[in-house]
Amino acid sequence: DAGVTQSPTHLIKTRGQQVTLRCSPKSGHDTVSWYQQALGQGPQFIFQYYEEEERQRGNFPDRFSGHQFPNYSSELNVNALLLGDSALYLCASSRDQSGTGRGYGYTFGSGTRLTVV
């Protein structure tokens, strides 16, 4: 049973460029959340997708956008990259409990290390 798969594992981009990160959730999971983890910090919530819609959003600018596909996989897009966007980006999947909007079992992927130069 595959867990959460993220790609690519590492990425180097130049300031001002755009980047797309991808996530395939664990089998049976329908909700995907994205987190940004700066060096030496705890992960910070970016947004969550369920039923192909953004259900919640953290305190991140509109440069961060996402998408969820019918197969539950998801993309995180970041436009106009800044040096401060350099971080480990983690995808977490979970299973929504009967439409309650809550899922208790989160599985994290291995992350994408983004470096902006």
């Binding site: 909700t31 959340s33 705890g42 992960p43 919530f45 983690l90 994290f108």
Partner: protein
């Protein structure tokens, strides 16, 4: 916004010793998680605590939750070098939002 504080931030301990990591959070929650992270790696789930008084143990690690005090502890018994890692607690809000709020982490180093 829910705030999560962990202490200590850094912990260096000798093998065989016991120690406790503390996690305080600012508003009511119905779920608390402990994760382990090795350098450059993702988060490994250790425990999920869903009710007041919940206690879970796995090997040399034991986690507990006091929802009234908004406090969780991760107790390490007879530490071994393999436990060296960063430990995070994460809290979910009791209503509405489904995301997790993470503490800043405790970097544990076990010295032989």
């Amino acid at each position: 916004e829910l705030k999560v504080e962990q202490n200590p931030l850094f912990l260096s301990m000798q093998e065989g010793k016991n120690y406790t990591i503390y996690c305080n959070y600012s508003t009511t929650s119905d779920r608390l998680y402990w994760y382990r992270q090795d350098p450059g790696k993702s988060l490994e789930s250790l425990f999920v605590l869903l009710s007041n008084g919940a206690v879970k143990q796995e090997g040399r690690l034991m986690a507990s939750l006091d929802t009234k005090a908004r406090l969780s502890t991760l107790h390490i018994t007879a530490a071994v070098h393999d436990l060296s890692a960063t430990y995070f607690c994460a809290v979910g809000q009791q209503t509405g939002a489904n995301n997790l709020f993470f503490g800043t982490g405790t970097r544990l180093t076990v010295i032989p």
